[in-house]
């Protein structure tokens, strides 16, 4: 069980949250990129062995959406890596 920090409520049990998927690339302008780049945006998400940024929704709480960095090897919530955007 993780304790996820909600910016409004503070640390809360993971059970109050719904996982919202990994944070992917920003949506490109479909008219300005090639088909291959568009497909990559649609289907490819980061799958690192280590910290990954993901979205969570405090659905059974205040309703806030938030992002955290979580290490896929340990499930620990970690600081954002230094080279993260």
């Amino acid at each position: 069980m993780m304790l996820i920090h909600c910016p409004f409520c503070g640390k809360r049990s993971e059970s109050e949250f719904i996982y919202g998927g990994p944070v992917g690339a920003d949506r490109p302008n479909p008219d300005a990129v090639s088909d291959a780049q568009w497909v990559e945006y649609l289907t490819v998400t980061p799958n690192p062995l280590g910290p990954v940024q993901e979205k969570w929704w405090h659905a059974r709480g205040c309703g806030e959406w938030l992002t955290i960095w979580r290490d896929t090897r340990t499930h620990d919530i970690v600081e954002a890596p230094e080279n993260a955007q």
Binding site: F8, S15, A59, R60, G63
Partner: protein, 165 residues
Amino acid sequence: MSYNIHIQRQEISALFDLKGPSEALQEWAGKHLPVFPSHPNSKTIKDEMELSFIGRNHWILRAPLSQEQSLAGRLMPESCPSDISIVRISDTLTFFGISGPDAPEVMAIACPLDLHASVFLEGMITYSEVFGIKALVSHYDGGFEFAVEQSFGDMIVDYLNRAIT
């Protein structure tokens, strides 16, 4: 094992859901409401009205049912400006009061919050879960209160009875 608690399903209350920037809400209806609470998950009280700060730009006003019509007349949900929203939700939630010496024990079965009096201070109110269902949980003198959607009410009674027997 049985617990020494008192469970009471409350009468229906007048409830209004308020959304939008607090300045805009105060400008529209501030004079009819308690002072807006400044801390997340806290509430303020004035003339039997409770105003709870339960999410970003999100408040719930609770009052005795007898005040519902007059509050609706003063808050004027139908004609409020477009940057705020006021919705009467009195019939959507059902409240349960849990009091008695073992109230914290039973609430600890139902709810993942840290409910210790030094953390979940008296007067605090927040959305969390009760038996896995979204619930508005508050700590008041001598016990706890929580509200779930009306349709879950009977199921919660069943859960509570199973938890205490």
